[in-house]
Structure formats: C-alpha cells, structure tokens
C-alpha cells in the first residue's frame, strides 16, 4: 500500500508534537534526519512496559523479572528480523556513535592485548578506509584507532556535489586495507552507497566492512545478511524510537572474535579478583543495566514502520526528495548538494543560499514554523570541500506532506530578497 496523502494524514494523528503551533504557525518538522519524532504507539508501549513489567532483566528470579526479560529478548528478535540479522548479532548501545566506538575501542583493545585473531589485528602499514563525506561519528573513532594501532587512515574524496564514487573507493581498497567504514546513506547529501559492491571488494582483500546505517535503516528496507557487512550501527531516535538506545550489529564471526569495549555486570560468567571470563555475544557487549524500556519502544517503532511498509516509506520519501530538489533548484541563487536529479537519494535535501548564511536561512524558516537544520551536520570535512561552513538541510519522514515541502520551498524563495541579496 503506497503512503498517499490520506494515509500520511492518518499517521500524523499519532504524532502529538506535530499538531503544535510554533511561532504562530503550524509546526512543519523537516528535521527528522537529526532526530525523528515518536508516534503514540511507541510512547504507549514504553509506558505499558514500565507500568506493568519493569524489572531488572536476566538477573532476578521473580515474576516481573521474567516478564521483563521476555519483553526484552522479544524486542531483540524484532529488531534483528527488521534488519536481516539473527538475534545474537544485535546488541544495544547508547546510540549509533557508541556502537561505532564500541567497535573501534574493541579493536584497539584486541590489538593492545596481543593474540587477537589475524583479521582483527592492525599494525603500522595497515589501512583504515573511510570517505570524506562521513559523519564525525564514523570518522573520529577511526582516527583514534589509527593513532592507537599505528595504522593509516585513508579516505575517498568527494566531488563538487559532495558525492564519492565506487570507482574511487575500489581504487583505494588494497591488500593493506583492513577496515572499510562508510555511511549507507549520507546525512548531508542523501547519497546511497553501493554496499554490496564495496563489501565484495573489501572482503576480497580480507578487510572488514563497518556500515554506518543511521540514515538507511529508518528510511528503507535493509538486510545486513544480504549486504554481507561485518558490523553496522544505527540509532533508535532516528527511526521513530526512543533516545538512549543504539544498535550494534556484529556478524556472528566478528562477534565471537571481538573483546568487549565495556565490562561490568551481566556480561560475565566468572569473576575473581584476578581474572574475568566473559559471556558470548550479544550479552558480552552489554555491560550493566541495559535500556530495556527503550528496547521495547524500539521494537514498537519497528512494528509501526513495518505496518506502513518500508518500501512505501522509501517511495514516499523519494517523491518528497524529488519535489524538494526540483523546487529548490528552480530558485535563483540556491544550490542543492548531493546526487544529480534522477539518482537515488534519501528523503532530504541540503542546500546553499548564495549570499545568505545557513543560520539566517534557518531563522527565516523558523519564524514561519518550519524546522530545518543548519550547520555542518557533523560533517566538517565534507562542508570544507563544498566551500561553506554550513548548509541548510530539510529532511522528511513518514508524516511529511507535499504541502509541507512546498511551504518550505516557498519560504526559501523569500530569503534572499529579505536579506537584500541581488540575484
């Protein structure tokens, strides 16, 4: 079933926050790329859990603890199935950033301890390959791992539109490459990476592939097994789910090989004062009390998205993105970055208004109730390459209407005149 205007308006009723007025105008929320809003079923699922089953999981023997543990593991199953993974390949983290750091910290630990398996060992001369378009969350942790191991960080450069090419990526994958990390979908340009092709090239040389799936899992059907990646990360708050929960996918083999980044309760089998033995994945990667109500909420978000259908979500956003790109590009002095028209892009558009700083653009939209994001979007190198400190980004989700997109475009159309910039 496509996500047509009727259905979108039905869905909007689930989002209380969208019925608010902001600065005297109905809120037009076009910042889902930064954080999504949560529909009532997600809020209700979390609250029901807290009012009926809440208890420490995997620890107690009492009835509530049993119910809570069932809900918790059921949530893991739901999320795993949603992304084409097995439940024991999914562990919870604070957010996607934490998930990526868990991999880089674990790799640094494994190397420091010595005796790590060949495929997770890095040394001087080895290379970690990323792209110039990465979010800082998928960039700085690799700088740190390079510093810790003596490996070299390399990157695929982007073009004038902020996009990078498969050919350039392939050319940089050599026998020295040990890790290839990149975003499935860019949070600035909306470019969609050819994951399977990169996995093939990377695995041919024995490199691990780490996928930043923050902007893909919420917006299109994703199957980690089919893609063949070794690790992946995404966040609950970007997919209609709770804050305070991220997901780390570790393919079974890698989950067996990696030591835990964090240690503590609930992830051990035996602890003496001298020595500790750890459980297997995924529990090994879940030290301390986990975000249990959040896992329940995230599973409810998955149910909500599946009820809409991820293909319908993708299609809806593609249409909105095309509308944004066409409408904005038609304006004098506006440059939309990212893939050319007709090329796959996710439901967002980042743009530069000639002569007006992004912050001022955002301000003009905000007084009209339109929430967009302005800044470097945690991608400074990309922006440096684009020659600006900041862009303005409008990002859509399931509740976004064509009318909202049009309203945003019309507001942008008035910006340059307001600031007296000549065309």
């Amino acid at each position: 079933m496509p996500l047509d205007e009727t259905r979108v308006h039905e869905l909007r009723r689930d989002f209380a926050i969208l019925s608010q007025e902001v600065n005297g105008h109905p809120l037009v929320y076009l910042d889902s790329g930064a954080t999504a809003q949560r529909p009532a079923p997600v809020l209700d699922a979390e609250r029901a859990f807290l009012e009926q089953h809440n208890a420490a999981v995997h620890r107690g023997a009492h009835t509530l603890a049993g119910l809570a543990t069932d809900d918790y593991e059921q949530a893991r199953e739901t999320v795993a199935r949603f992304v084409g993974a097995d439940a024991d390949e999914i562990s919870w983290t604070l957010n996607a950033t934490d998930a990526i750091n868990s991999v880089s910290i674990a790799l640094a630990k494994a190397n420091a301890a010595g005796g790590a398996e060949e495929r997770i060992r890095l040394a001087a001369g080895d290379e970690i390959l990323i792209t110039e378009a990465e979010h800082h969350a998928n960039l700085v942790p690799w700088q740190e791992l390079a510093a810790a191991t003596g490996a070299t960080l390399r990157w695929v450069e982007v073009d004038d539109d902020g996009c990078w090419s498969l050919d350039d990526m392939r050319a940089l994958i050599t026998e020295r490459t040990r890790i290839v990390a990149f975003a499935h979908v860019s949070n600035v340009t909306g470019q969609v990476a050819p994951v399977a092709e990169i996995v093939e090239a990377a695995h041919a040389g024995g490199a691990l592939v780490v996928l930043d799936a923050c902007q893909s899992v919420p917006h299109r059907a994703v199957d980690f097994h089919a893609l063949g990646v070794d690790a992946a990360a995404f966040s609950g708050h970007k997919m209609l789910g709770p804050n305070g929960i991220g997901v780390l996918y570790l393919a079974r083999d890698l989950g067996r090989a990696l030591p835990p980044a964090r240690t503590g309760g609930s992830m051990i089998t035996t602890v003496t004062m001298e020595h500790t033995e750890y459980m297997e994945a995924p529990t090994r990667f879940e030290a301390g009390t986990q975000p249990v109500p959040q896992a329940v909420g995230l599973a409810a978000a998955v149910d909500y998205l599946e009820a809409i259908g991820m293909d319908a979500v993708e299609q809806h956003e593609r249409e909105l993105a095309e509308r944004m790109v066409a409408g904005l590009s038609a304006l004098e002095g506006i440059r939309v970055v990212g893939p050319a028209a007709g090329v796959d892009r996710s439901g967002l558009a980042s743009f530069i208004v000639d002569g007006v700083h992004a912050h001022d653009v955002g301000q003009v939209l905000d007084v009209q109730g339109i929430a967009v994001r302005v800044g470097h979007h945690c991608a400074q190198p990309l922006h440096r390459r684009l020659g600006v400190a900041a862009t303005t980004r409008a990002s859509a989700y399931v509740h976004t209407t064509e009318a909202e997109v049009d309203q945003m475009i019309e507001a942008v159309a008035g910006v340059r005149a307001y600031f007296g910039v000549q065309s």
Partner: protein
C-alpha cells in the same frame, strides 16, 4: 503458598535434591564438562565414560538450587547403561518437555523420574536450572565426538 509451588517442587524433586544420586567425580573418564548458569550461579562439573557407545560411567559435582541438583541426580538414574543415541533422544525429549510451558507431560518410558520436572516448564525462569545437567551431558557427548577431553566452556546463557 504450597499450592502454587507444588507443581514445581514435586516431592520426587525435593527427594532427589537431597539424595544427589551419582554425586562424586569418577576418575576414569572420557569426557569432562563444567557448565554454569551465569544468571543464578548454578554450576555443575560432570564426567562420563563411554565404552562401545554405551555410557558406563557417570559422576557429577555441583552447586545450585534444588531444581538443578535434583535434575543431575535424576539424570544419574537414567544415563548409565544407555547407548549414546538413545541418550540423545532422551535429552531431546527432556528439552521438549521443558519448553512446553506447562502443556507437556513427558513420556515416562523415556524420561523415567524426570517426568516429575513437567511442572518446571510452567516457570520459564527455572527451565535453565533443570536443563543445566542435561546440557552438560550433551556437551560431554559432543566432546567425545570431537575427540577432546578438556573441560568445556562456561555456558553463555
């Protein structure tokens, strides 16, 4: 209280928890395994001897709740003298019973005294207590197949 509990703590289970049949490690063995339930700390060390495909020696040492200890004791009354394939069938039957969430009764011919554990399946959090010794035994059999005799890995769940 008794009513609700009696399905779980059958008289036979409470007796076995005290009798602890088969307790004590045998010196002449083909496989040894140490398993632990990290949630509650129940643990068991088990050794078995297999000759011509028949379990000829069986002994265990353990610490844990009455369910886990009784289960090892009951197993000591079942395993010795069986062919290993036959034993595997019984382990599977016991696992099926434990997963039945109160709906199974268990085949007394296969499971003997172990049918007393049928009520445990209504208490999902106790199922792993009942399973501990059976999983350890399964681990021993796998070791023999793999030709190792070293103590097994602590159980992850």
């Amino acid at each position: 209280m008794s009513g609700a509990l009696d399905g779980l703590y059958q008289q036979l289970i409470l007796e076995h928890a005290k009798r602890r049949d088969g307790e004590g490690l045998i010196d002449d063995f083909d496989a040894e395994r140490f398993d632990r339930n990290p949630t509650c700390g129940d643990e068991i060390r088990m050794r078995i001897k297999v000759e011509d495909g028949i379990i000829t020696g069986f002994g265990w040492e353990g610490d844990g709740c009455s369910i886990s200890q009784a289960s090892a004791s009951v197993l000591a009354g079942i395993a010795p003298g069986l062919m290993r394939d036959d034993l595997e069938t019984r382990i599977d039957a016991f696992r099926t019973l434990m997963r039945s969430r109160g709906t199974g009764e268990g085949d007394e011919e296969l499971l003997e005294d172990a049918v007393a554990f049928a009520g445990v399946s209504k208490f999902p959090m106790r199922v792993k207590c009942a399973m501990l010794s059976w999983t350890a035994l399964e681990g021993c059999l796998q070791q023999i197949d793999a030709g190792q005799t070293d103590a097994g890995q602590p159980d992850a769940q």
